[in-house]
Each structure stands twice: as C-alpha cells, then as structure tokens.
Amino acid sequence: MSAPVLSIRNLNIDYVGAEKNFHAVKDVSFDIAPGEFFGLAGESGCGKSTIAFAVSRLHRPPALIRTGSEIIVGGRDVLDLDTAELRSFRWREVAMVFQSAMNSLNPVLTIEDQFYDVLRAHTKISREEARARAAELLKLVDISPDRLKSYPHQCSGGMRQRIVIAICLALNPKLLIMDEPTTALDVVVQREILQRIDVLRKRLGFSVLFITHDLGLMVQVSDRIGIMLQGELVEVNDAATIYKSPQHPYTKRLWASMPRLHGEQIKPEASS
C-alpha cells in the first residue's frame, strides 16, 4: 500500500477563550489512503469542521493548533509551511467544498473570474487558456460553458455546488475535503452530486475527506469512516463494519436512534 495522502497525527486544536480555552479537537489521528473516500461523522459541534480547516490551515484566531500536532500531506508537515509554501500548497494539493452552496462563491465575481483567479494564482496561464480550462472543468460536472459569464446568484443551488466542485478539480488536487457539502440541498440533488464525486474520484484518483452528520448517507458512499464525539475520534473503521458491527457505544446509539425507511423500524424507546 502506498503512503497515505493525508496523515493526521495527534492533532490538538484549541479555541482560545478569555478565561478558558475550548479544547475542540483532542488528540485525533487518522490516515487517508490515495483514492480513498473517507467519511468523518459526528454531531454538531464535535470538531469536524475544525479538523477540515486545519488541513488547509484556514483557521483564524482564536483557533490554535497546539504544538506537537502533525498534518502530513505528500510527505511534509503542513504545519511547517511558510506563507508562500502554504499558498501554493492550498488548492493544488488539498481543495475544499464548503457547507453552503449558496455562499461559497463570491457574489460579485463571475464564475469565470473565480476559475481564473485560482488558476492564475498557481499557474502561468493566459486568460484564454484559463477560459478553456474552466469550460472543460464545467463539462466534467455537466454544466454548459455558457455559465462562465454568469454570476453565482444566477445559478441554482445544485448548480453552484457543482461549480464549486469543478473549481476544486482545477489543479488536480490529491485530496478533496467536503464539509457537509450537501446539507442545503434536496436529497435528490444531494445524491446526484455525491455520485458524481464518486465517479470523478474513481476516474481522477483523488481522495476525499467527507464530513457529514448523516450516517446513513456516509455508509452509502464512504470506504472508511471515523466517528467523532466531543473532539475525540472514538472509532475508525471501514464503512461496512461501522454499520454492521459498531464497536463504540456512541456509534451504536447513533444507529439506534436512526429511523429506517425500509424494513423493520427501530423501537420507539420511552422518550427520555
């Protein structure tokens, strides 16, 4: 097996507070293999986004990645990169899809500009070449190149999310982080987008870090899954195991409280 695309070791992240610090991520370690679809699940506020942000070092104060943490991508520790290295590392190696499709595109720039600025920041590319490349990327996600002239508000939510994915693929990153990329979308659209990602990663070979609190969905798409609880990674296993034979009591409880659409319904326990 080749070296992992992403290897997180003893990651500790605090949110510094005036009186007390909030320890949001506690000693988390996990690996993502090349081409792997890795799911990170857990309830709201358990620290999933905090990890995702740390990988691209997108945090702003008062977040603080504690000394001793390691985030290794492509053999080097992301936490050691200086500003220039960091800039070229971002997006080229790790691209990211954010939670809200509505808001992850800059409302005052055209779609083309938003392709262009990332291409120009990382490559020597002319405006025409960039346009051609953008059109090509849009085709990957089934969007007509006409859309390049549009502003984000002129596209529907699902379309915007697919545009973001296309922008993510612009530099052929090794890892795509998706932080709840579909919560704002309908189930039908959500499924469509995830299937597309699945197809693309198989074709282009990138890995995916997929963050959601929808366990059912996660089991459907992920190869391996990590379950988080209050900043700690309590269980990591392959998807089938997590579903069929969860180890951690918390994981078990999650399954127990998930109503089923088909087959036998879970027991309505006495409400507590």
Binding site: N12, D14, V16, G17, A18, R57, H59, R60, P61, P62, A63, L64, I65, R66, T67, S69, L79
Partner: protein
C-alpha cells in the same frame, strides 16, 4: 438581562460609563462644587486660569469652571431629553412600520425617507432661527421632531427581521394582541438597536445644541456649553488670547462625546459577538509567541 452583564464586563463600556457618570454627577452637584454663581460677575474680564478661577473667567467676568459645570446640566438635559424623544419616536414608528406593514409601513417609510434626505442641521438652524430665542427645551423639541428618521430606519429594518422569527409567529398563533407583540416580544429584542439609537441621538443632540448655541441661535439666558462657545466666540476669545474661554466647553463637549461613543461601541460589540475582540486575542497572541501552537 445577559446583555447588561456583558456590557459591564466590556472595557470600553466601563470607561465610557465611568466618564458619563462622572459628568452627570458633576452636573447634578454643580452648585456644591463651586462657590460662584454661573450668572454673576465674580472677576475681572478674561482672567487667565488661576487658583481662584480654575478655568479663568469669561469676557463678562463669569467663572468659566462654574459655567462649565452648570452648563453640563443644560447640555446633558438637552442631550438626554432630545435623545429620549428621538428614540421614543423612532422606536415606536420603527416597530409600527416594521410590524404592521401594509399602508402603515408605506406611510411611515415614505416620511422617514423624506426626512432622511432633508439635510438635518441646516433645517434645524432655519427652524431655530425662525422660532427665535430657542430655549434648551425648544431645542430639544425641535431636535426630537426632526431627527427621528434614522432611528425609524434601523428599528424598522431590525423589526422586519424579528417579525419573521418563530417566537413572534408563535405569539401571534397564541392570539397575543398585536400591541403586546410589539411591546413584549419585539421591543425587548431591540435592546441594542434602541440603545445605540438612543446614545447616538444623545451625541447628536448635545452636538446640535452646542452648534445652535455657537451660531447664536440659543437663549443667552441659559447657561449651556453652546452658549459658552457663542459668548467666547463673540468676545473674540481666540484673537485676544483667552483660549480658556473657548477651549473649556470644547473639551467638555469632546469628553462627553467620547464617553457616549465608547458606550455605543461597547453596545455594538456586545450585541454583535463577531465584533468583540476581547482579551482572548491577546491571550492567543501570547500563546503563539511562546510556541504553544500556531494556526
């Protein structure tokens, strides 16, 4: 109310509040803080500051310090009176327009926008001049009548958003009468907007009083900072070198303005947690410096 508690732990608010309370106390106890009367000659014209006259005397031989602390009463009274009036009118109209909607909103909104585009101070000036001998009360009333529009605009905008909140919906569905919804469901949630509007209006009114006074449109019988500025200007205080006569009310105005502005900023920070910087950023910087972590 948690907002109050937060306000008291805000450094800006504390400094502002302390200053303001100090000014208010000085104004309230003015008669006990100076042996002189603000309207009697107690010295020669334009005496420089001395032990007898801490801030010197005016052209007429009045004690500047005495006039300053007595003037604080008028300036504060006009400021807070007009501020209150502006806020009350602005809040009531704003909530009405925002909550009632329909033609009520149309009418209020139209007038608000109208008043907003008429330049305020020039209008004030003209009104004060036409009415003549604008006593502090008159000034406060004119200010109240002409300056509510900004308050209406922000209150209305905020009300429009609060109206959509589910707790307002649920109060409606419980059959609460609409006045109760406006007073008990919406109004308490406008605390910061109303507070900012109030303090902003007080600043505005204090400044407007001083300005009208300075331009000679105030009542010379009254002792206020604006009238002090006017008298000093008339006595050519600057050209004859009696800087204390003119600069004393200037600094008093600046200090009062500063205390109120600090409060306003503090309310803004408390109401909008994103604006708060607080101590944690300093702590964070320290932690980074000692190598406890990085971004």
């Amino acid at each position: 109310m948690p907002l109050f508690k937060q306000l008291l732990s805000n450094k800006k608010a504390l400094v502002g509040l302390t200053l303001l309370v100090l000014i208010i106390l000085i104004a309230v106890f003015a008669p006990f803080l100076s042996e002189y009367s603000p309207t009697r000659r107690v010295g020669r014209p334009h005496q420089a500051p001395s032990w007898d006259h801490w801030l010197g005397t005016t052209r007429l031989g009045h004690d500047v310090f005495t006039r300053l602390i007595h003037g604080a009463r008028v300036s504060l009274a006009v400021g807070f009176g007009a501020g209150l009036l502006i806020t009350i009118v602005g809040t009531i109209l704003g909530i009405l327009a925002g909550y009632k909607g329909g033609w009520v909103d149309e009418v209020i909104n139209f007038f608000t926008n109208m008043v907003l585009v008429v330049p305020n101070l020039p209008l004030l000036l003209v009104l004060a001049a036409f009415i003549g001998q604008a006593s502090p009360l008159v000034i406060a009333i004119i200010l109240g009548c002409t300056s509510w529009a900004w308050g209406v605009r922000v209150t209305r905008a905020e009300t429009l958003s609060i109206r959509q909140r589910d707790y307002v919906k649920s109060a409606e569905m419980l059959g609460e009468p609409s006045w109760r919804i406006m007073v008990f469901e919406i109004f308490p949630n406008l605390f910061s907007i109303v507070g900012i509007n109030f303090i902003g209006s007080v600043i505005f009114a204090v400044i407007a009083e001083a300005t009208l006074g300075f331009l000679g449109l105030g009542d010379p019988n009254s002792v206020s900072w604006g009238i002090m500025l006017f008298n000093a200007q008339n006595a050519s205080a600057l050209s004859v070198g009696a800087w204390w006569d003119l600069l004393s009310p200037c600094f008093a105005l600046a200090l009062l303005g500063l205390s109120l502005a600090l409060l306003n900023f503090a309310i803004d920070e408390v109401a909008n947690p994103r604006l708060r910087t607080g101590g944690m950023l300093k702590k964070w910087t320290r932690m980074v410096l000692v190598g406890e972590g990085k971004l």
